[in-house]
Amino acid sequence: MILIISSQGADINSLVDPRFGRSQFFIKVDTDTNHCEVITNSGVNQRGGAGIGAAQIAVDNKAEVVISGNFGPNASSALKAAGITMMTFGQETSTVQDAIDHYKQGKLNSFG
């Protein structure tokens, strides 16, 4: 299963970023192999359409689940069309590692 998590930093111990489109980084995790990859979000300073840009990143990286704080209307319609599951952080989710653990434990809520 490939997860993409919005993150404020470039590693797994960074704090999660509650924003999807304007997130600094995305951490891509393959839960089968535990392999991680960092994706820099080029849309972070984009004037508009950052959510769609981020959704495109998720699609291009073949994500199956995207985890963030919230998803805007454009991003969510694109992700929905792509058949990608959207999930939101729980109250106790602070780092990217937490998000991965909470996902595996089934503690996260699905969005939309």
Partner: protein, 294 residues
Amino acid sequence: MENAKVLCITVASGKGGTGKTTVATSLALSLASQENVLFLDCDVEAPNGHLFLKPQVEVEKKAVILIPHIDMEKCILCGKCVEVCQFHALAEIGKSIMVFPQLCHGCGSCAWHCSSKAIKEIHNPIGILEAGLTQEGIRFAHGVLTISEPLTTPIIRQLKKWQNAETVSVIIRDAPPGASCSVVETLRGADFALLITEPTPFGLHDLKQVIGILQDMKIPGGVIVNRDGIGDSQVDQFLLQNHIPIMMRIPYSTKIASAISSGNTLLDVSSNYGLEFQALFQRIKKCVMEKEAC
């Protein structure tokens, strides 16, 4: 006629609610008997000039931008259109290209770059333009942006081109508040900018932003201080130091406020305003002809 050229004046302010429409409509009415006036309300997100000039709307037209329509039969999913779009209005999702009309700026890059000719540009209405004459013979036009549409500049651009005729001698454009793209578009092509401010720190702060735009665009301008008597002297000091003329002062008065709130203009408050605005117009004309940096 010493100058057959049309004189175009944009009324702008920076801060909202300083009196742009009050001045623009009063100026238009004071010139109506001498000039062939075209009044353009370019505040397309909240047009209100019609409340004061009361035109009889005769014609209307849709304001549109061109957005891509993708023929999926022809599309080879190369992703070039997604890559070239600077506004993320397109996304390649699965076996299709999604179009987000509200993010599209209508630039046409996607269609230009499409090697399989799968993109056709179609009209996307974003608002309407309306025009008509007022009782005084002023040709009036305004744009009304559809609520939830984000792009103001295309509709302003279309409005500016629409009702202009050879017989027009003066164009008065009422700008939106602020100092963003829509104000720049309303200023573009103007011969003179009449800036309305109030003597408060807020008025001054936003006035400085618009003066910065005028300097970049090399448009001469002058200032009208409205609600004179309130606030402080910082606006006066700033204008004095920067050699920017104060062309008129309109006092803070409940009489004016109540006239405006009943849909009247300054000309209804006192007949002197008619003469004052005519004199102001002559001064602007002189300033533009002599290419003086006001």
